[in-house]
Subunit: 589 residues, 2 copies
């Protein structure tokens, strides 16, 4: 069972008056029977840490239902949005709730929001705790939250508790809730294929509904540079896929604002020095190996110029590289208030730098490729810090086999590493080196895997007697199912202390084979699986993985997301949803 | 190179006056250079058998462009549709066509359609040959077709030749075209999850654009019975997922009519005697093992009651089974004019029939399960034939390891078998037994594979140190990429004579994890890959697989489908599309 003791002491800070309730709550976790009725009735995804609803009673929502709250520039739009949703959604659960309308409860008139700290900004580690109570006798529900952002989480929970036409809402219900991990994100690559602003906003909205809080925007890469950087307008003008496929500052402002109104941070990534082929459209002189065929004829894999088609690395020896890059960093810091700045720094391919004449001279004179990367980091990281940002890099700067830098160049207090290789092994290496980690293991959290390779002449698919076995040509295949994502424990194998350095996780959608036509279905509902695991875990009260029980709840939530306009893919036949338990097996596979 | 001799003699029957042209065409295949210019200019998918366009010249489409044709109830709607499309599409190719507007050619005023046999109905083997010519000097293009249905293929080709704003169209262009295989289909399962009529119509429209001609509608299964059968209304009323998830006769009529106007046959499948759990909602007495847990506790896989959750087989020993089923067959034959009737007959699971008391007695008295299936087939197949239908069954009736019937019960002249197991091996078994085959190999043509298992408590996904290897829990994983589908030769390993018994192929979308949210992206553009392979093959003039060259063309076609409203998934970064050849590799994987 969960550590209620720790939670209650933390809780006491904010809500001493209801400490008693928390103790009751802990007891109820030990005797969880009464709460189970909710599962066959009304579903909240991700499952709250603590939800008490001893009697399955509900009341109607008053036609004049309102939400009252303190004034806050980002909370008020959220409230207006939720009020509209609550009044109009009339969610029709797939399995009819076994709930009785209480004859003694008045219609619910008001949800009153109290916020302990109205000034806390949306940033890493902000307190998202909230408590929600809907009593049997009053006509008012209370949402008490540590911060504005916790209030948004509570509003989402409240919205999911409302169903039917006329709208009903449980009474005698108490929720106490807070996330297990502070960093819960989605990474979207908008360089390989472009996404409209609407696609991004819809994704952020769905993230908010799943209580996720970081939209990691992998804006640029070798394939296109779809950002209009005011100080370097040529980069977007020449490096984007076209004038209709650029994010202008006004678009960024809209996305950032939308994020704030949804409690979702917008964390920009300008990947460099690798993954920068598109920069060469404007500045060919600062990009090594640009516009070359990625895999020279006759060479082996180690001599490739890029990890995939689309070559180009910034040249660390050219002073102009830093002139352009610092302009970009400064403008991006201006456009994105988020205190984290993602610098990329993944997949430096030896062959690319080696193809550049100036670098060849440097190497001939005894320099190494790792020194080049150190030069690059040392010429940019201090500048990023000077803008009051924490730097996030992909793990490669520390863990790459060939080209990596000495940890002394990476101050632990200002550097976070995002892991994507070797599952829990690399997470362990990062935290054991004293760095904070964000987990995006490609074996568990890469949403693009399992759709084959995108190379035009990939002859492995030309088989007649058997189809492709194994991963089907996808380097990170197979497809990561929602169960794979749900079951992954991002602190697996870590000591308690080391685990504290794991800030959270992000699923990643790389866009070689994704674009707006499929973005919803690639991300949802699989990302909902991560959202629950990072919010309240993937285990039941007895410590067992709860994926079987989660299936029915995720089904219900997936259908609700679809009705809210997110084209999440189905996980089962509708028959399974309507016949709970019948799509299990008694024999584990 | 293709057998132009055979084609020309066939062609002579219809178009003796242009035999000379065909000879020129054959010569041009030997010297194919002039036609290559089209590939960098205007793309037709599937690639026509023969396309001549020696000079990359074009003219504008007259604002008053019209299409003239003989009168035909299904052709006229098609013409109206194509005229609207041609006038309004203004397709903007991803790679700017290297085409010159001819200064000597007048704007194209008219496409004149001639049809040799205006009475040929849409059925298997109907002649789909067409020839299209757009001369440099006239203002009229000519489309000559063997039948109405061939004319629809030619209209599609013409529509794909038009691009730009103002609309341009090639001149000095000649196409001769006819399919390699007569049966080119998509199977959609509307039982496990429901699809709206609009989803089906959109799928048929996209099929027509890809010159596919059979919509195999797997209407019913164990999970739901979404069809209102006039003589047996209880089946749909009780067996569907709900009143808003039933196809009424008016819906079927609309779909059939839409198919006729698009040259797409609508082939109904009422799967029986297996896959009939949903029938038990109306008639529990005719269904063995209905509504049971599919895998009894403690039993092994062989003792399962169903191949997946959702149990129920029609009971061949109950006379009422045939009373109900014959009503269904008769009504379905009435609703669907298509001369093929698909009876299903796949996956008879021993455990299900064995669970039924009357069958237990039959077995105790010395009967066998195969005899039960023979009884079933012998009680239904003659009735289907009496309705002037050819029966299609899944291969299982002949090839299942446990329960199969003697070929004497399956008249070869009236029975077609659809293969789905063991790749080309089973195709071979079917045709060597003298049956005609439709190829839907699950190793190549199953569109649903690679998205994991849908069982709620599938513990194989609970791994921490490595992700699921291999097929990722999907029985038929990995995901079948478009290249896998494109490269499969459905007559692989067959003698020339045996190959003639292969009518064609069908991709199949089983809907355990698909529904309207993902149907477009699951089907397209992978089905386009099959469409080209079955229409004009997957090899170039030298006999080499043309998948690399096809990549750029499929990309272009995929984007055109998206602009036509089909949410086909992307196969590459847009960068690859804009940089042809750069996403190849010199080293085969």
């Amino acid at each position: 069972m969960r550590n209620c003791e720790g939670k209650s002491s933390m809780f006491q800070v904010f809500f001493p008056s209801i400490l008693k309730f928390v103790i009751i709550a802990c007891l109820t976790l030990i005797f969880p029977a009464p709460t189970l009725s909710l599962q066959s009735a009304i579903n909240v995804w991700p499952k709250p840490i603590l939800l008490l609803w001893p009697k399955p009673l509900a009341t109607f929502l008053s036609p004049n239902f309102t939400i009252s709250s303190p004034n806050h520039q980002y909370l008020i739009p959220a409230i207006n949005r939720y009020l509209r949703l609550i009044q109009t959604e009339h969610h029709n659960p797939l399995v009819t709730p076994s709930v009785n309308i209480s004859t003694s409860s008045p219609p619910l008139q008001t949800l009153t929001i109290n916020i302990i700290d109205l000034t806390a900004p949306l940033q890493h580690g902000v307190n998202e705790t909230y408590a929600l109570s809907i009593s049997e006798v009053g006509a008012t529900a209370y949402l008490t939250a540590a911060t504005t952002w916790g209030a948004m989480r509570g509003l989402e929970t409240f919205s999911q508790l409302v169903w039917g036409d006329p709208s009903a809402v449980p009474v005698g219900l108490y929720v106490w809730d807070a996330p297990l991990f502070a960093h819960r994100g989605v990474m979207l690559d908008t360089s390989r294929n472009y996404y409209g602003v609407d696609d991004i906003l819809r994704t952020i909205e769905a993230m908010s509904a799943n209580k996720l809080n970081v939209f990691h925007w992998h804006i640029t890469d070798s394939h296109s540079f779809p950002l209009m950087v005011p100080s370097e307008p040529e980069l977007g003008a020449k490096g984007s896929y076209g004038p209709d496929m650029i994010y202008f500052p006004s678009d960024v402002a809209k996305i950032v604002q939308f994020g704030l109104e949804h409690g979702v941070r917008v964390l920009p990534e300008i990947d460099s020095p690798g993954h920068t082929g598109s920069w060469a459209e404007a500045y060919p002189e600062i990009v090594a190996c640009a516009n070359m065929f990625w895999w020279p004829a006759g060479s082996q894999g180690d001599d490739r110029l890029a990890s995939e088609p689309g070559t180009g690395h910034l040249n660390p020896l050219n002073p102009k590289t830093y002139q352009v890059l610092k302009n970009v960093i400064r403008d991006v810091a201006m456009l994105f208030p988020e205190p984290f700045y993602h610098g990329g720094a993944d997949e430096i391919i030896p062959g690319c730098w080696k193809a550049d004449p100036t670098i060849q001279t440097f190497l001939f004179d005894g320099g190494t490729l790792s020194q080049l990367l150190e030069t690059f980091v040392n010429s940019t990281l201090p500048y990023i810090l000077s803008l009051n940002r924490t730097v996030v890099y992909w793990e490669d700067v520390l863990l790459d086999e060939n080209i990596k830098i000495d940890p002394s160049f990476l101050p632990r207090e200002h550097t976070i590493l995002q892991t994507w290789n070797n599952g829990s092994n690399n997470t362990k290496k990062i935290v054991e080196a004293g760095y904070r980690a964000i987990v995006s293991s490609s074996e568990f959290y890469y949403l693009d895997c399992g759709h084959g390779n995108f190379l035009g002449n990939d002859s492995q698919y030309d088989q007649q007697t058997t189809a492709n076995s194994g991963n089907g040509g996808s380097w990170c295949g197979p497809f990561k199912t929602w169960q794979t994502i749900y079951n992954y424990d991002i602190t697996y194998g870590l000591s308690e202390d080391d685990a504290k350095l794991v800030l959270g996780g992000e699923v990643a959608l790389w866009s070689e084979q994704a674009d707006p036509t499929v973005v919803d279905a690639r991300i949802w509902p699989r990302t909902s699986a991560m959202a629950e695991t990072l919010w309240s875990g993937n285990r039941d009260e007895t410590g067992k993985k709860r994926y079987a029980e989660a299936t029915d709840r995720l089904n219900e939530w997936r259908y609700r997301m679809v009705s809210r306009g997110i084209k999440a893919e189905p996980i089962q036949p509708l028959w399974c949803v309507k016949n709970p338990g019948m799509c299990n097996t008694v024999n584990p596979f």
